[in-house]
């Protein structure tokens, strides 16, 4: 009974945080892309456009839910459901932090720990391709079909280097459970898989990230929805919440790839340098810095209302910094902070790359996967297993 209640509470928290992240990730993306292109980005709805995600959700829900007459109805309705379910499912095995004790209950900051966690994530993400492929086929539209076909070919091709890139750090960790993989890495930079002796996994980290970009259909691998040749690719015929489901699936996949990268290569919730050297003070220092900036600009206001709003935010930031200094709070929040920092940085990289790189041509995409990425991944795996076996 207690187990069920705790699991339900954890599921509710994870679902709420994930949904908020998905909504605001889109805001962050629009803002970052805008600043890369020297624009302002969304700024009308709320301060700095912060209420834009809410407005978008209302728009998507109230839009007309159109089902074109020429589609295969069953699969047309099944496809977005499948895509979003598979995308959200894999978050259930991701460990966000170490064991915590709250109100007398001891629990892990993870929904469930499978002893084949890595394979589970791979399996679920490989089933996500059906959502896209079926959407393309059921739409009964040649642009949608081409988009769906491109995406299935791309995802199968990039799954191979991805699996091989995952296998290399698993040799170091010697387990398939995501929690134990994090525990096998130490609490400083050179004990993470990416730099860990005897076999630093820098190459497989890069391969995994590239394959992750391709698996999530992001720029420069967004061929399935290349708008200048395929209208909108597999989701051409979708509107309203069914379109939103595909959108959510893409962002949820981005979150999953970022979480998996930080768990496999960047030490999960482990800090950048040991607690004994003061890694617990990084988060309070960042908040204090933010607070001081707000205070400075509040005292030298550019606009009249800044004189009142910015000092309020400064007080909030200083309050958070002080709260984080308290040991009981730090014990719970610090692992979450380091995990979120790593995953957040990787998510920023996703957006950064989108603002920087043009799209691949289709034959380049396939050639890159099979003729470059795959051999390099095999070679890396062989070298890693040799090093692990010798040392």
């Amino acid at each position: 009974m207690e187990f069920i209640v705790i699991s339900l509470v954890k599921a509710a928290i994870v679902a709420a945080v994930l949904m908020t992240t998905l909504a605001y990730l889109q805001w962050v993306e629009r803002k970052v892309i805008a600043h890369i292109q020297l624009r302002m980005g969304p700024s009308r709805v709320g301060p700095h456009g912060l209420l834009q995600p809410l407005a978008d959700v209302i728009k998507l829900i109230t839009k007309e839910d159109l089902i074109p007459p020429h589609v295969n109805k069953f699969f047309y309705l099944l496809a977005p459901f499948l895509a979003v379910t598979m995308a959200l499912l894999s978050i259930s095995v991701i460990p966000f932090g170490s064991e915590v004790e709250l109100f007398g209950y001891k629990t892990w900051m993870q929904m469930t720990d499978l002893n084949v966690g890595v394979l589970f994530v791979l399996a679920v993400s490989s089933m996500g391709v059906y959502g896209i492929a079926l959407a393309g086929w059921a739409s009964n539209n040649k642009y949608a079909l081409l988009g769906g076909l491109r995406s299935s070919a791309q995802m199968i091709s990039y799954e191979l280097p991805m699996s091989l890139a995952i296998a290399a750090p698993l040799l170091l960790a010697n387990t398939l459970s995501l929690r134990e993989i994090v525990q096998s890495q130490g609490d400083h930079l050179f004990a993470w898989s990416i730099f860990k002796l005897p076999a630093p996994q820098l190459i497989s980290f890069v391969i995994f990230l590239i394959a992750g970009f391709a698996e999530t259909n992001r720029v420069p691998f967004d061929l399935p929805e290349a708008e200048n040749e395929l209208v909108a690719g597999f989701h051409t015929e979708y509107s309203s919440m069914k379109f939103a489901a595909f959108f959510m699936a893409e962002y949820a996949n981005m979150v999953t790839v970022s979480c998996m990268t930080s768990i496999l290569f960047l030490g999960g919730w482990q800090p950048l340098f040991p607690v004994s050297l003061g890694s617990n003070f990084v988060a309070p220092a960042l908040f204090a810095l933010g607070g001081s900036l707000c205070l400075y600009h509040g005292l030298h206001p550019a606009r009249r209302k800044d004189r009142y709003t910015l000092p309020v935010f400064a007080a909030i930031f200083f309050g958070i910094a002080l709260a984080l200094l308290a040991p009981p709070v730090a014990r719970v929040v610090m692992p979450l902070f380091w995990f979120a920092a790593k995953a957040g940085f990787l998510l920023f990289c996703f957006i950064w790359v989108r603002g920087t790189l043009p799209r691949f041509r289709y034959d380049q995409l396939m050639g890159f996967a099979w003729k470059f990425l795959f051999p390099v991944a095999v070679l890396n795996l062989l070298v890693t297993s040799l090093l692990v076996a010798v040392f």
Partner: protein, 170 residues
């Protein structure tokens, strides 16, 4: 209790999916039903505490092979085949075959009834403590190393052969 319910659920999925695979007239529908059947098999593996087989079943069969099936079906124009009659009136021959094979199976099961018994509980507990993946790796790379390697060579031959046959000039 719960295990039994799930067993019948997955069994229904396997058998139902299999029957629908051969009776649907649209090739895409057949492929989707086959996927349902394979998901059922994966679920049965999970019920038997073979987590590794469960994951591999999904990654390889559902995430790999069936995607390629679907890929080919979507590319090839199958409208003509779908319009043709699916049942060609040889049901009496099929029935005779089914009866003969059924009798054969029944006879062998009667003859070898002594061989059917549950695995000793001790072995299952040992493999659970050790971890399913390690147990499979141990068996595969020590006891069954030769068959494993022969199978991989066979697959390599098939891959090379298909490339040679498909390409006119290498």
């Amino acid at each position: 209790m719960l295990d039994t319910i799930f067993f019948y659920l997955f069994a229904l999925l396997v058998v139902g999916g299999g029957i629908l695979t051969i009776t649907r007239s649209s090739a895409v529908h057949s492929a989707i039903c086959l996927i349902g059947s394979l998901v059922g098999v994966a679920g049965l593996y999970l019920l038997l505490h073979a987590e590794f087989l469960f994951a591999v079943q999904i990654v390889l069969y559902i995430g790999g092979i069936m995607v390629l099936f679907l890929f080919v079906i979507m590319l090839v124009n199958l409208d003509e085949a779908a319009r043709e009659r699916q049942f060609n009136g040889q049901w009496w021959l099929a029935l005779a075959c089914v009866v003969v094979v059924g009798l054969q199976i029944a006879w062998f099961m009667r003859k070898g009834a002594g061989a059917f018994k549950l695995a000793p509980a001790a072995a299952a507990a040992a493999s659970a403590a050790k971890g399913n993946t390690e147990a499979i790796a141990d068996a595969l790379f020590s006891e069954y190393l030769l068959p494993f390697e022969i199978a991989s060579v066979l697959l390599l031959v098939a891959v090379v052969g298909s490339v040679v046959m498909a390409k006119k000039r290498i």
